[in-house]
Structures are given as C-alpha cells and as structure tokens.
C-alpha cells in the first residue's frame, strides 16, 4: 500500500495498515447444490461446506423422489408389484422386473422355460447398455462435452425403440412376469436389434475415441474421487464401481443366474478406482454386453415363454373365453393374486449399478407381507461425502455422475 493512501486512511480514521495486510479470515462457505440443479441428476441435494475451493464436508439430502416403494408393495398383489419395480431404476427397468421375478420364483421354486430365460437375459443386457450409455453421455456433458451426450442418447433411443417393439413401452416396460416373460419377440426383431447394436457400437467407439485419450477429460477424471479396493469393499460397493476399484466381483460370474453360465464373457476390472476407471469400465462392460447379446441371439431356440402352471400364470385367452376351468384359474389369479408359499427369501441380480436385491417375506397369501429392497446405487451415494472430502467443488459433479445415482432406486 502506498504511503499516501496510508496517510489518507489515518486521517479519516480507517483501518490500520496491519489490518489491511492481514490475510482474509477464512470463513467456510455453505453451498447448496440441487435438488433441482441441472448437474444433480435425479433430484438429490448436496449441502457442501467449502474451505476456499475445497470441500470440507458434504451432506446429502435425499428423499425428493421417495414414493414409499416398500410399503406400497404390501397392498398390491405380487403381480402388481411389477409396475412399481419399473420405476426403481427407470433407465433400465427390465433389470428390476427380472430381479423381482427371480426372487419370487426362488420362493415358489419355479423353473422358468429356457426361452424366457434367454429373453430376460437379452432385455437385461440391452438395458445395461442403455444405462451405461446414459452415464457415459452425462459424464461427458458434465465436463463440457455436449456432443458425447447427444451421441449416447442417440444410441440409447435406438435401443429403446427396439424395446418398445418388444414390450410395448419405452420406459415403463413391465416385461417380466412371475413364471416367464410377457411377450415373444416380434417378427424380424432380432435382425433389427443386431443392426441397432452395430449402430450403437459405432457410436460407442466414437464416444470412446472422443473421451478416453483426451487430455481435458483425462485430467478432470484421473485421480479424482478415488476409492481404494479396501474402502470400496468396506463401503458396500457393488457393480461397476467396485470393479473399477480392482475387485473382480460380478454376480453374473459369482452366482450365475438365468443363462449367464452358458455365455462367454469376461469381467473388466480397474486398478485406481477413480472416475476415469469408472468411465472405462462402463465402456468395457458395454462391449461385453454386446458380445453376450449376439451369443444369445445365436443360441436362443423357439419355445415356451411361461411355465404352464396356472397357479402362477394367467391361462391363455382362448381357454378363458371358452372353458370354465380357464375362467376360474384366471379369476383366482386376478382377484386373489398368486399364492406365493410362506417363507422369506433374498433374491439378488447384477443390475447396471450393482447388486439389486429383493428381500421378500410371504405369509402365503396373494400379497407380499414385506418387501425390502437393496438398491444398487445407495451405498455409492452414501459414500459420496467420504469420497469427496477435500476434493475440489468442480469435481463434485463428475464424481457424483460416475457413481450413477438414480433417484428412483435410491429413494425407493
């Protein structure tokens, strides 16, 4: 400070020069991100305390999408739970359908026909690609790569169009049923889907070409939001986030369900557990899913779609229209619901974000006694304050995105 200024300050009784030269007292600043912030996907609110530009603490405020999933399920029949599960992870609804159906079938000890198993696998893997495309696109978008987002959404929409043809709706697919699946593939659908997959491969490679070795993307993601392997296990991570940390654990390999034991695929694993690895693992998993889908299309044989046991599935309509037995079986199923044997079971599948678990308790009636949901995204979201401790504010959004929090499933 120049001497003249000091002179003037002294005359007007201003602050002493020692006060002016002191560093600014560092008061922590509280920043609210969300719930309706364009970068916070899926309506979550993060209350971030900032020390300069670093995050001193981060508190998550969730529940904006809470719908009372578990409780609502207790007042509907087992079949009527399917529309609710559609809305858990709404980007990959069929995986939730399949997870729930498998859990109930475990309780009923039902063996689903092979074609139904293949169709469940196919639709699940298509939805896995959709989910990962959404994440990769959004991650690019957060870091300023709008183009990537548009390519990813183009691919996802093409896949959704195929699923619309198969199950009759884009998002709320409601495809699986207890005992099988609701519809067979329309004519020419497999060829069309293969063409779509070819297109998605092109888009995926283009996205990867734009991001993976791009220094801007690399610098923003490498070493950011790192979770070590031990931490990831302690925090209860599953799915791509766990594998990105270096633990080769995938339920499709560890406890194969459906037809995964017949398919030839590998599990990619990362080593750093940072945002960059979490991005790469999604790209690799899309490649594996693509490989699995083509194997399924090759191996799938024509056959039945549901078990022919009319205690569990609705009898075919000609029987309902024409015979008294058909009408009665139909009437019992609609009015009372499927009589699931009393007992409890935990059914688990590998959904796009990790282990999707349904804990079911049945008292032997047509309605669930209790349903507990292990949402795959929840442990990752809960770990966010730990991952983000000391990180830059600008890294919050990409890290938040790379754990793929989906409001519908986390907040049930």
């Amino acid at each position: 400070m120049s001497t003249e200024v000091k002179e003037v300050l002294k005359q007007v009784g201003g602050p002493r020069s020692s006060e002016l030269d002191a560093p600014l007292s560092s008061k922590r600043m509280l920043v609210n991100l969300g719930p309706s912030h364009p970068a916070m996907h899926g309506t979550a609110r993060a209350v971030v305390e900032l020390e300069g530009e670093n995050i001193a603490s981060c508190k998550l405020d969730i529940g904006f999408l809470h719908r009372g999933f578990e409780k609502s399920c207790e007042s509907v029949t087992w079949t009527q739970v399917f529309p609710y599960t559609d809305r858990l992870n709404y980007v990959s609804s069929i995986m939730n359908n399949v997870g729930f159906a498998l859990a109930v079938e475990k309780l009923c000890k039902l063996e689903v026909p092979e074609r139904a198993q293949y169709l469940r696998t196919i639709t699940s893997e298509i939805h896995r690609i959709c989910d990962h495309l959404t994440l990769v696109g959004a991650l690019g978008l957060e870091l300023g790569a709008m183009t990537v987002f548009l390519y990813a959404i183009e691919g996802r929409d093409l896949l959704w169009d195929r699923l619309t043809e198969l199950c009759g709706a884009r998002l709320t697919s409601n495809y699986a049923r207890i005992g099988g699946v609701s519809r067979d593939v329309p004519e020419g659908w497999i060829e069309k889907t293969e063409t779509t997959l070819d297109r998605v491969v092109l888009l995926r490679d283009e996205i990867d070409g734009l991001l993976a070795r791009n220094r801007i993307f690399y610098d923003r993601t490498r070493g950011v939001g790192t979770v070590s392997r031990a931490d990831a296990i302690d925090l209860g991570f599953t799915g791509p986030c766990l594998r990105a940390s270096g633990e080769a654990y995938d339920l499709r390999k560890a406890a194969p369900y459906l037809v995964y034991d017949r398919l030839d695929f590998d599990i990619p694993v990362g080593s750093n557990g940072d945002t960059y690895d979490r991005y790469l693992i999604r790209i690799e998993e899309m490649k594996q899913s693509d490989k699995m889908l083509r194997q399924c299309f090759r191996d799938m044989a024509p056959g039945e779609l549901v078990v022919r046991d009319f205690r569990y599935v609705l009898p075919p309509k000609p029987e309902v229209y024409g015979t008294i037995e058909g009408v009665m079986a139909h009437f019992k199923l609609i009015m009372e619901g499927i009589q699931v044997p009393a007992g409890e079971v935990y059914g688990y599948t590998e959904a796009a974000n990790g282990e999707l678990g349904f804990y079911l308790v049945s008292d032997g009636s047509g309605r669930p006694y209790k349903i507990g949901l292990r949402a795959p995204g929840w442990p990752m979201l809960a770990a966010l304050p730990i991952i983000l401790h000391g990180a830059l504010l600008s890294d919050l959004v990409p890290v938040f995105d790379s754990i793929n929090m989906i409001g519908g499933e986390v907040e049930q």
Binding site: P83, G168, S182, A248, I281, L305, K317, Y321, M335
Partner: protein
C-alpha cells in the same frame, strides 16, 4: 475371466494436447459437414435411413409435423371393444378394476333391460392421469372387452377432467366377436334375432394374429391359434 482395464497414463503425444484435439475435431467434422451439406431424410424409421457419404447423419424427427408410428404392440390409449351391434363387449365384471395397480378404473354395472343374466357397464371411466400404462387391465379382461391397441397416447388437455374418459369416449375401434361369446351361444333377448345371426356369421372361432397384443402375457396368440386349428382339423378327420 477378469481382465485389466487399459488405464495407462497419457503418453507424450497425448499429453501434447493438439494431436488428440485434432483427431477429435476430425470425428466431429465428419458429422458436421455431412449434416451441413446433405439434407435430413424424413423416414420415421431411423434405421432405414441411408447412411454414409452423401447422406446426413441427422436422426431426429420434426415432431409434431412428423410422427413415428407406434409399433403394433404399443400400449396406447385404452378403448372398449364394441360388438358388431355397437354395444360394448364389456360385461362389467370388475376384473380390470381389480387388476389395476393404479386403481384408476371406475365401473358401475347395470342389468341389460329384458335380459335376466347379462350386465353392462352403465358407467365405465378410466382416469388417464392416474393410469400407469401397465396393461394389466387388458390382461385381466376375460371378455377381450378392453384393449390398448389404439396406437395413440393420451392426448394433452388443458383441464384434468378431460383426462377422465367415459364409456362413450372409450367405445371405438373395430368390433370383435368370438364364437364362444355367451350372447351368441344362447339367444340373448337384448339382441334382435337378425343382428345375432349377423354377429354369429362374422364371429371368429378363436383369437387370431390380429389380436396378438390384446391377449395373454406369455402366450403367442399366433401359436395358440395354430394349435387350436390343428386340433380342430384332427377332430374333423378321424
């Protein structure tokens, strides 16, 4: 089994920033130039649009001027299926209302005048705002009286009450009759004899391919129809 991701650090060329940026711009310029110089194909089937050099990459549709038709199995707006004489097939059995997880179907049953057995829906209202478009009502109906095969979605409206579709708005679309329909198998007093004869003449023995998506989950109507036809043929030629 498990394999390691390719997460090696950037090499010198990549760290040099420009080569990768130029490569990325090359990718984008390919799309950009094609979209700039060639016009968009308006085919609503995106996959069928020609690709490659000389064609635009644009995959959009100019909604609402251009609309992609919904696929045949699409769960669209409900309709009550009429019989040939224009009355609804619905017998007001409340199965759809029971199966509906959103509880958005309201039915008031009434007796058909002059008929001791038959019922019809004096009121049949679906609240399209509450409907979660699951299709369970279609699956639950034992009379094939409600379908979602209109190929439309619920139209927008300025007032909520316009989304309450009643039996007059719902009753539309092509008529359906099956030989197994009870009103064809016994002389129903509510239907004049000539009309009944005409309906019987046009009735189908069982659902066929055109009913594919109005039918039971898990069973292909085509396969079932083929099975029934085979059975009938076997019975006919002993």
């Amino acid at each position: 089994m498990a394999y390691q991701l390719d997460n090696r650090p950037l090499d010198l060329r990549e760290r040099f920033y420009f080569p990768e940026v130029i490569r990325g711009i090359g990718t984008l310029a390919g799309h950009f130039l094609r979209n700039l110089f060639f016009s968009r194909d308006a085919n609503p089937d995106i996959l069928a649009r020609p690709r490659g050099l000389g064609y635009s990459d644009n995959v959009t549709l100019q909604y609402p001027e251009e609309k992609a038709p919904y696929p045949p199995g699409y769960r669209g707006l409900h309709r009550l299926v009429p019989r040939e004489d224009g009355s609804p097939r619905c017998v007001a059995c409340y199965m759809c209302a029971t199966a509906c997880p959103a509880q958005c179907i309201y039915i008031e049953a009434a007796e058909v005048p002059g008929d001791p057995i038959e019922k019809y829906p004096a009121k049949f209202v679906i609240d399209e705002l509450r409907c979660v478009v699951c299709g369970f009502c279609v699956e639950a109906c034992p009379k094939d009286a409600i379908r979602m095969d209109t190929g439309e979605h619920a139209p927008p409206s300025l007032e909520r009450v316009h989304q309450l579709l009643d039996e007059k708005a719902l009753l539309r679309g092509p008529a359906v009759s099956y030989l197994s329909d009870p009103w064809l198998r016994r002389p129903a007093p509510s239907i004049p004899a000539e009309a009944l004869a005409a309906m019987t003449a046009s009735a189908r023995p069982y659902p066929d391919a055109s009913d594919e998506y109005a039918q039971t989950p898990g069973f292909s109507v085509k396969a079932l129809a083929a099975e029934a036809r085979e059975r009938a043929e076997r019975a006919g030629t002993p």
